[in-house]
Symmetry: C2
Subunit: 272 residues, 2 copies
């Protein structure tokens, strides 16, 4: 049974996992160094827990203790109970959901573990955490097998990515490519049709591409680039097919997460 520890001193060392949650660069280095991630809100904390992630501690405002009581009763994780004001002081923002959990990161999956997949989204340099989280949520919801991230793409276990994914980052397999330059060769060698979401003189409309896949089934690795610059020319040049979502005149692009949603639905497995 978890022990409830009331803390009133914002400088208490036991709260160090939770400092300055809005300071992205500080959190990035702190979380990597400590091997932790932060789950926010009861629902996300439950999903982290239920997918077997080990909690280091929880930080709760008093009114959030009852909601998590069933989990706490089965665990000896330290639970720090603080006022909402103190929570705000430590984390640097108003914690609406009043519940935070620090969890141990598990050893990262290797790219090789995803090569049996039939449908992979591959994010090149998507650095926005909410976009990475949204893409993982869509891929999971629409029956794709996993997500590969280029070395510079945002961390799916960063708090906001977890939140946007609604915890799908805990269940959908994802891995980081360690080699941007040669990663796509590995995908081709593993039998993937490497398809890029982009515009090019020889691009094909997404519905036409879906029909081709119906007639000639292939494993697909779908490359998505940043919203601003799109895919690098190095990656685009290696794509066997360039796939376009037809757009109304005068509009240049969709948000990358919206494009991923459409692609995962149109090119994904038939789910009834």
């Amino acid at each position: 049974m978890a022990s409830l520890v009331e803390i009133a001193d914002p400088a208490d060392e036991r709260l160090r996992d939770y400092v300055a949650l809005r300071d992205v660069s500080l959190r990035r280095s702190l979380e990597a160094a400590q091997g932790l991630f932060i789950a926010e809100g009861e629902k996300i904390i439950r999903r982290a827990w239920q997918t077997g992630h080990l909690p280091r501690s929880l930080l709760l405002a008093p009114r959030w203790v009852p909601g998590l009581r069933d989990l706490l009763d089965t665990s000896d994780v330290p639970v720090y109970v603080v006022s909402e004001r103190l929570a705000e002081q430590i984390t640097g923002f108003h914690v609406h959901r009043g519940a935070l959990g620090a969890f141990e990161r598990r050893p990262a999956r290797q790219m090789s573990e995803l090569l049996d997949a039939r449908r992979l989204v591959v994010c090149e340099d998507i650095v926005d955490h909410t976009n990475v989280g949204a893409i993982i949520r869509c891929a999971a919801g629409l029956g794709w097998d996993g997500v590969l991230l280029a070395p510079r793409a945002a961390d799916p276990l960063y708090r906001r990515a977890i939140k946007t994914s609604m915890g799908a980052v805990f269940s959908l397999p994802w891995a980081r490519m360690d080699d941007w330059a040669h990663g796509l060769e590995r995908l081709r060698d593993a039998g993937f049709l490497v398809a890029a979401m982009a515009l090019r003189h020889d691009d094909v409309g997404i519905d036409e591409f879906a029909e081709q896949l119906d007639q000639h089934p292939r494993k697909v690795a779908l490359l998505m680039g940043t919203e601003g610059a799109g895919l690098s020319s190095h990656w685009l040049a290696q794509a066997e097919v360039v796939v376009r979502i037809p757009m109304a005149r005068g509009i240049d692009s969709l948000n990358v997460a919206a494009a991923a949603a459409i692609a995962c639905h149109v090119l994904g497995p038939k789910i009834s």
Copy 2:
């Protein structure tokens, strides 16, 4: 030609349109009372300007003046030039893009002006500004004719909605329903097939629904509800068709903007 006015005093009355941009409830009442909206970043400012919105003033850090020089040269709008630190002090956040514009709101479009549309998204109580902005961006990009908002849905001209929409809120027609209880009757009377994105025992998969529409073309008003609670039972009961996006087992829903992206693509006009 616009006059550049350097301001060093954060309490200067001329900066009042720009105070506390992160304080949603304050901004909501201030912007409604003053009839203004805030555009953030050079690109969005240009789009507001080019779609005929009247600027009240601009707030620029010095390094952003040259980028907007062509616009400023053709206008006598007051341009307040402040240090980035002062901009942060006034607005309450670090203005990455260094350029803000306060524009006059135009008289709101009436719902009646959208009834000739063939494809409308209808947002019930979607209160998240980024979701409303993302839905409008998708609807515009995928060739839909407009967006209707229930009385409690978020304001498309709130700064973050504008930003997420990439300025599509300036070009895509949208209007607010003034009557939540009877709004859907008006849509039916205007010949719309009222379709709800939701789950119900008699729902139909979205691709099957698209085929039905191909065979029997209809005007479509597509209802989208909040992420948490979904559509109200009052609205859901009035839907002629309930449309489902098939999901993988164990996943309960997509983000509403992702669902809108899929629906706007699958049910939208054929764009080549």
